[in-house]
């Protein structure tokens, strides 16, 4: 009886509840996104408009030239350096990490757990703990201020997380598959490249994305080991750009936006892999 009576009221209440829910969520999203909106507005304004009206107002006119000017002032250089570093680090790193993870999961040996624990230490080491000896080492090898040197360091620091993610995946590959291939006479190389790695493609893609974004964003190693302006990667270049031209907000914002665009594209197209990769690392 009560159900029959309350139906219209209940329906109405549900509707208002839904609307309130959306309104609250939209407001939260808007506040959450304010810094990004401010960045975009600043990047398309001309300097005069910014000086008079501040960051958070509708631009009088869209000034695309901010982007080309920022690009030509140095961002171009930083951008391509970041592309080179990320493009070399990620594939090499993933091959090394998956091979190690494969050995840890499917090439039964006594020390596997200890080796894994040894690798995991790297996840918690503050980079400061390595800087001085690395500076001496890189100096001795003539790798200071080179992208090659930086790539080698990135590969080394990437190993723990990569092995963690790939090991998590390889553990879900049934031993029976590997055993069957062994019995058929396939070598470990064949099994790895023909069976394990193709099976692990979802994990590889997740790792590529997480690792790509992390490499693209890395700051401290680049700051310590890159010295000349022509070698700087984006995050470092932007901060230095800021200390030099701290009043040219329009160009700076455009420069920041340029550096963020590749990450946004990756994020939009491969979003589900972020979740998969992170949960892979935890499980």
């Amino acid at each position: 009886m009560s159900q029959a009576l309350s139906k219209p009221a209940h329906f109405h209440r549900k509707w208002t509840k839904g609307a309130l829910f959306y309104a609250a969520l939209l407001l939260a999203a808007l506040i959450w996104f304010t810094p990004v909106i401010t960045l975009i507005l600043t990047a398309v304004k001309d300097a005069g408009d910014f000086a008079v009206n501040g960051a958070f107002s509708v631009p009088k006119s869209i000034r695309w030239a901010n982007f080309s000017e920022a690009w030509e002032t140095g961002v171009k250089n930083y951008f391509w350096n970041s592309v080179i570093v990320t493009g070399c680090k990620v594939p090499i790193g993933i091959i090394l990490e998956s091979m190690a993870a494969f050995a840890l999961t499917h090439m039964e040996f006594k020390w596997a757990d200890r080796v894994f624990a040894y690798i995991l230490i790297g996840l918690i080491v503050p980079i400061q703990m390595t800087l001085v000896p690395l500076t001496l080492l890189m100096n001795a090898l003539n790798l200071i201020d080179t992208l090659t040197g930086l790539i080698i360091l990135y590969i080394g620091f990437g190993i723990p997380f990569g092995v963690l993610v790939m090991r998590g995946f390889f553990r879900t590959v049934p031993t029976a598959i590997i055993e069957a291939a062994r019995i058929d006479g396939a070598s470990y190389f064949r099994i790895f490249f023909r069976i394990a790695l193709p099976l692990a493609m979802p994990a590889v893609v997740s790792l590529c994305i997480l690792d790509g974004v992390a490499t693209w964003n890395e700051f401290i190693l680049a700051q310590i080991f890159l010295r000349s302006d022509s070698n700087r990667t984006l995050p470092l270049g932007l901060v230095e750009f800021y200390t030099q031209f701290s009043t040219q907000y329009d160009q700076l914002a455009a420069a920041v936006l340029i550096s963020v665009i590749p990450v946004v594209l990756v994020f939009v197209f491969f979003q589900r892999y972020f979740v998969r990769g992170m949960s892979g690392a935890v499980k």
Binding site: P133, I152, I159, V239
Partner: protein, 310 residues
């Protein structure tokens, strides 16, 4: 035909050939493991050990002789180095806020966005988005928001008639660390949110239905059903957040560079100053060792968890 080939090969790994195959297995194991282990050991492990060793010397990083001083560097830091204490205090503040704010905000977002509704994916992306930005970029963006004259924060305060609250946020020595932590929080919410969303997916819907039938409201369902089942996720979230909080560096460098008057130094930034600006390699590496020791405290439960399920 193939079956016969198979059966002949199954017979292979027996006692007669085990020694030879063990040798080749060892070789293969090296091929698979060695490259990763080698580069990791050279780039991460050896420098870590060497840092600990160097922290026992007085050295400027250039001269060929180092003077062994035992634990004196640590003693100097704790008794004579005021900025070290500022860094330690700021790290503590940062850690406490990082364990409270991004984690609970992330959990809140995850709870709201766990249900599917029109646009839930878009909202997930919006709330996660700051986490993919580099901390240097986050630092720059927020530096503009805090800018005293043209920055959004003071403008909003002015528009709301709260001019009294306006200030030069990043220049106030007593409080400048807090606006930096707020910026870091904006970036730090994404990861806990993601992990909690993944954790929530593993909770069977039937449990909630059952609790609902029993008459439990949403708050009691959260307290007695959801949260206990998220215990493992919470442990991971807290550990990762703590480890990341102690790693903070770039955002401070980008926003305040430790200033004003060293009031926003962290152990990590002060290590950089001492080592690379003041050539005090012994003190710098000693700070790194202290920072690492602090990290280990929070990392132990995490590492236990990671190596447990084998």
């Amino acid at each position: 035909m193939s079956t016969s080939a198979k059966s002949s090969k199954t017979a292979l790994p027996t006692s007669a050939s085990s020694k030879a195959s063990r040798g080749s297995r060892l070789y293969l194991l090296c091929v698979f493991l060695a490259p990763a282990l080698l580069i990791y050991s050279v780039v991460v492990v050896y420098p870590m050990v060497d840092s600990a060793y160097l922290s026992l010397f007085r050295w400027d990083g250039i001269s060929p002789t180092k003077l062994f001083v035992g634990l004196q560097n640590y003693l100097i830091l704790f008794t004579q180095n005021d900025v070290f204490w500022i860094g330690l205090k700021n790290n503590a503040i940062w850690l406490v806020i990082a364990l409270l704010l991004p984690t609970s905000i992330g959990l809140g977002f995850a709870l709201v966005l766990n249900t599917r509704f029109r646009g839930s994916h878009l909202f997930r992306s919006i709330f996660y988005f700051p986490a993919v930005l580099s901390l240097a970029v986050v630092g720059l963006i927020w530096t503009w928001l805090y800018e005293p004259d043209l920055g959004l924060l003071n403008q909003v305060l002015g528009a709301l008639g709260l001019k009294a609250l306006e200030r030069n946020w990043l220049a106030d020595p007593g409080t400048a660390i807090y606006p930096v932590i707020v910026a870091a929080t904006w970036n730090g919410v994404g990861l806990p949110m993601l992990l909690y969303l993944a954790g929530l997916q593993t909770i069977p819907v039937e449990l909630h239905e059952a609790a609902k039938v029993e008459g439990a409201g949403p708050i009691r369902r959260f307290l007695y059903v959801t949260f206990p089942l998220l215990r493992e996720t919470t442990l991971i979230v807290l550990a990762i957040t703590a480890i990341n909080a102690l790693k903070a560096y770039d955002i401070v460098y980008a926003m305040t560079n430790g200033g004003p008057a060293n009031q926003t130094q962290l152990l990590s930034t002060w290590m950089y100053f001492l080592t690379y600006n003041y050539n005090q390699v012994g003190l710098g590496t000693a700070i790194a060792v202290i920072l690492f020791s602090l990290t280990i405290i929070f990392a132990i439960p995490y590492m236990r968890f990671m190596t447990r399920k084998t």
